[in-house]
Amino acid sequence: MMRLRRSHLICCAASKEKMAAHLSYGRVNLNILREAARKELREFLDKCAGSKAIVWDEYLTGPFGLIAQYSLLKEHEVEKMFTLKNGRLPPADVKNIIFFVRPRLELMDIIADNITSEDRHHSSRDFHILFVPRRSMLCEQRLKEQGVLASFINIDEYILDLIPYDGDLLSMEYESAFRECYLENDQTSLYHTAKGLMTLQALYGTIPQIYGKGECARLVANMMLRMKREFAGSQNQILPVFDTLLLLDRNVDLLTPLATQLTYEGLIDEIYGISNGYVKLPPEKFAQKKQGEGSKDLPTEPKKLQLNSAEELYAEIRDKNFNAVGAALSKKAKIISAAFEERHNAKTVGEIKQFVSQLPHMQAARSSLANHTSIAELIKDITTSEAFFDNLTVEQEFMTGVDTDKVNTYIEDCIAQKDPLIKILRLVCMQSVCNNGLKHKVMDYYKREILQTYGYEHMLTLNNLEKAGLLKPQTGSRNNYPTIRKTLKLWMEDANEQNPNDISYVYSGYSPLSIRLTQILARPGWRSIEEVLKMLPGPHFEERQQLPSGLHKKRQQGENRTTLVFFLGGVTYAEIAALRFLSQVEDSGMEYVIATTKLINGTTWIKSLMDRPESPTQ
């Protein structure tokens, strides 16, 4: 349990690294959380006295990048960093070797290999393990079996449950959370979630109201209340920042992640994949051709860009429907061009000085504009392709309930031309969800076509999808999707992409179910949709947490309330965009901060449910 006083954190925040200013722009200053995480890291590093080398589980470098830069590690005597791999550790004249790893068995085997290859006679290096985010019984046992457990001076955990991603976004980056919860029925991720929420409350005050929908939501709420009881002795004296917590199970809304996101950020993620706030793009569009030079050497390495609200232009366009991005970029282009033209008007020394002082800012704006123009061009090439259009048409037919009970010709054709399996699975699952299960004949047909075309071993994957409820045979009960669609207004005929007046703009017509639930909870309340809530899986509930007297907020007239929406099992960028839209709607009176186990899209999500051949060790 992290218990930190705020004053202390604020003085930390003023320290020299100012890399994460964008985290403090939002309604809730998430920099506090980041600073707390940095402090923990420093403390751990100082515990291993002397010079050190870190051996990284490569997966962790991404999430850690959101917390700290190399400079912080260097200040604490980290002299070398390596990637974890089999064999002998590279030479490094340091006192300590620290493994930063996720608690995974295959990584333990690599560590064991490192240790046993170490030259015991010449080396006097101390070994440490830092598990992120938790120590694991299984891993320590594995180290013991391999006979290396005793070589460690120090085994510790670095509780990195919720990582601040942006001014209004937290993610646990817990990739397997959905699979564990709904396939393997392993609730460890929920425990971590509850822990993370306790840390958050320690920093931002007790959240007085908790709402939830779904089995996992219920469990997390129970754990939180229990943990609070266990700490009953120490009252949290921080004025609550959040008014409400809403816990939502991903399986309450299986449909939304399956649909292709149509916001700018959503499409970047669908097409290129955003990982830990970075995207890798094909370099051709970014090559700078200077005049007079031929295109002598085109870059071959992918172009890597960081995407967050620290970039003004990106913050402006990320949540727009892609069809509104062209206009926004061109508007920006005019402003920037005009600003550069100003130099002709600068006559006096003072004016010139003024112009020059603004140059760096203008340069940054120009380079940002150039990047996003290139990205938009790349995406446009795809969204205007026939394949994209056809796929979208079928998705929209399913979501509006057209012919969901028959074998779909488009899916059939896609299988016949061996389109990527994940694309097929996304569509078939979507059809199943929109039809509340597929007819036996339809399901058998799809299954046979898939197995024949992609290989019989995918039987295992199909089984997983069935267990997770994404693919299911129709049971006797009536298809209730149309009722849900109508009651929650999941389809809006006249979605306005340019000047949206409803969240449905993020999917050009479809309003994400999860966000409708959130919206209705704020107004007029869930009581108005009891019937539909019962059709969706899992219980819905409300809990209250007592605040010490004196901490009850006196709300100013017109002051917005703040809700933390926690998506258990993942959230898409389009859903985030929809929530940001709701935060901005005037007179909504509600602002949202978003937390999740993992940022997902349909492809990464389905992939996490697929069954791969065991152990890729060779």
């Binding site: 070398k80 120090n154 205007t384 051949p613 152990s615």
Partner: protein, 519 residues
């Protein structure tokens, strides 16, 4: 994924598509198709781009123009225009992932420098005792209990502690090792990573109480820790029975067994709990780790006796039959190829083994190398179609692609021959002629072949766009003539080769006084 073909596979058609599981790659494939932008823009896209489609796209061009203009303005500063410094690898300088590579590289450099063996100035860590304490660590300040105590120590070290904890511990904490913690306290200590011995829970009742407390805490780690202890100290039958009424613990136990690849116990567990189908699937999954094809086949054969659902059993049966067949085909074809007498293998040498390929890939292979074989052979496409009940459409698409790849246009033609014995030779197809054209074009069919099939596309507008796209001039010209659209015909004249037959045809039409042009 298992279905991935080697990059140099023999099946260009399949390779184009199969390898790409991710949307990213799938999209790259599309991109190459988008060269014909004019074509796409003129067609039917409405759903996503809405009314002012061209407007939106042209605005992107405006911004591109502005970007280029400004670049020229500020050329001299261009070298440093990136706000963030990016290294050659594209990672921002100073980020952790960049630094990992950077510092690792520098250490390698250091490695190459001649260096004298260094004598360590540190106190050599003499022997690290079983418990994980080194001498030096004892004097290194105040170590935290949790750090030194590992979970597994806590579990297995029943002999209390051999070392002397009082050396470094205040009396109050000494209690950690000897006290009788209640189940609740034990669970809490486990959660905090503190030392605790589970050995004191001796009776079944005590053990189950401990388990229930662990379950209530919802910490997977703790549940697993307790389960490992129970697994060690209880007999299977009792453990399985108790787990049946504790679903959460059961799931964690299953997860633990599969993580540690304890297949045998896992199967026993499934059977004991009457989860026959789960057990069967689990066993089937093991085939993936068998590399020898004959062993794999035998393994699959054994799987047939497992209690699958009827539906899954049919799939496993097919899987087995397919591999069995692939092995036979592989042996025969390898011989034929080596023998050098069979022309097709000489002309199109096989680039990969057919073993473990999906069924449709196998069908394609057989349509490629064994097309005309009588239905009685294992490698006959018709036999495969029959045995595995391949749908008409799938068979058709696959055969079409394979024969087109070989440029066997007569075979292609024959596929469409309607079975009408009254003498009509109308072409019939289970899939749209648009798709047919698409497949033929992907296999680089010449225009004169494509033309026949473009002409069969029902929808007039679509036929025209396809004809334009594939340069089937005759179709375009006669369509314009039928539309009596002189302007379009004139415009098209610029797109055909000077002095060609097409140009003459257009000229003839344009000068034909019989036609009453509408414009």
């Amino acid at each position: 994924m298992q279905a991935v073909l080697p990059a140099n596979s023999f099946l260009p058609f399949c390779v184009d598509n199969l390898n790409k599981e991710s949307l990213t790659l799938y999209v790259q494939m599309i991109k190459s198709k988008v060269d014909e932008e004019d074509y796409w823009h003129s067609s039917k896209f409405k759903a996503f781009t809405f009314d002012d489609e061209d407007d939106e796209l042209s605005r992107l061009k405006e911004s591109r123009q502005a970007v280029n203009n400004i670049r020229r303005l500020v050329e001299e500063d261009d070298d440093e225009d990136d706000v963030e410094r990016i290294s050659w690898s594209g990672e921002p300088v100073g980020s952790i992932s960049w630094s990992v590579k950077e510092t690792a590289a520098s250490s390698q450099r250091a490695d190459r420098e001649p260096a004298f063996p260094k004598i360590s100035t540190d106190t050599p860590s003499i022997s690290r005792s079983q418990s994980g304490y080194s001498l030096s660590s004892l004097f290194k300040g105040k170590p935290k209990v949790g750090n030194f105590q590992t979970f597994s120590d806590a579990l297995t070290d029943s002999s209390v502690r051999l070392y002397a904890p009082e050396l470094r511990k205040p009396k109050s904490e000494y209690k950690d090792y000897v006290s009788d913690w209640s189940p609740e306290e034990t669970v809490q200590r486990l959660q905090q990573g503190k030392a605790v011995s589970l050995e004191r829970f001796r009776t079944l009742q005590d053990k189950l109480l401990l388990l229930d407390h662990a379950i209530a805490a919802h910490d997977g780690n703790v549940i697993t820790a307790v389960l490992i202890y129970l697994k060690r100290t209880l007999c299977k039958e009792v453990l399985f029975r108790e787990l049946e009424s504790r679903q959460t613990a059961l799931r964690h136990f299953i997860h633990y067994l599969s993580e540690t690849q304890n297949q045998r116990l896992l199967l026993e567990l499934h059977r004991a709990l009457g989860r026959a189908e789960d057990a069967a699937l689990l066993q089937y999954k093991e085939h993936l780790s068998i590399t020898d094809e004959n062993k794999r086949r035998d393994f699959l054969k054994n799987c047939l006796s497992l209690p699958f659902s009827a539906e899954d059993l049919a799939h496993v049966q097919d899987h087995y039959t397919l591999l069995e067949r692939q092995i036979i085909i592989e042996v025969t074809d390898r011989q034929a190829e080596r023998g050098g007498k069979v022309e097709i293998f000489q002309k199109f040498p096989r680039k990969a083994l057919i073993l473990n390929m999906p069924l449709i890939t196998t069908l394609y292979y057989c349509c490629f190398y064994h097309y005309a074989e009588p239905e009685g052979t294992f490698s006959s496409p018709l036999n495969i179609r029959q045995t595995f009940k391949i749908s008409e459409k799938q068979y058709f698409v696959t055969a079409l692609a394979a024969r087109a790849k070989l440029k066997a246009w007569l075979d292609v033609d024959a596929l469409f021959a309607s079975r009408n014995w009254l003498g009509f030779t109308r072409k019939k197809s289970p899939l749209s002629f648009q798709r047919v054209v698409d497949i033929l074009q992907k296999n680089s069919a010449p225009t004169h072949v494509l033309q026949d099939y473009v002409a069969l596309v029902d929808d007039g507008e679509l036929r025209l766009t396809l004809a334009q796209k594939h340069k089937c001039h005759d179709i375009v010209i006669s369509t314009y003539r039928d539309m009596k659209d002189r302007q379009l015909l004139l415009g098209y004249r610029g797109k055909v080769v000077r002095g060609s037959a097409e140009e003459r045809k257009i000229d003839d039409l344009l000068s034909n006084p019989q036609i009453r042009w509408k414009n």
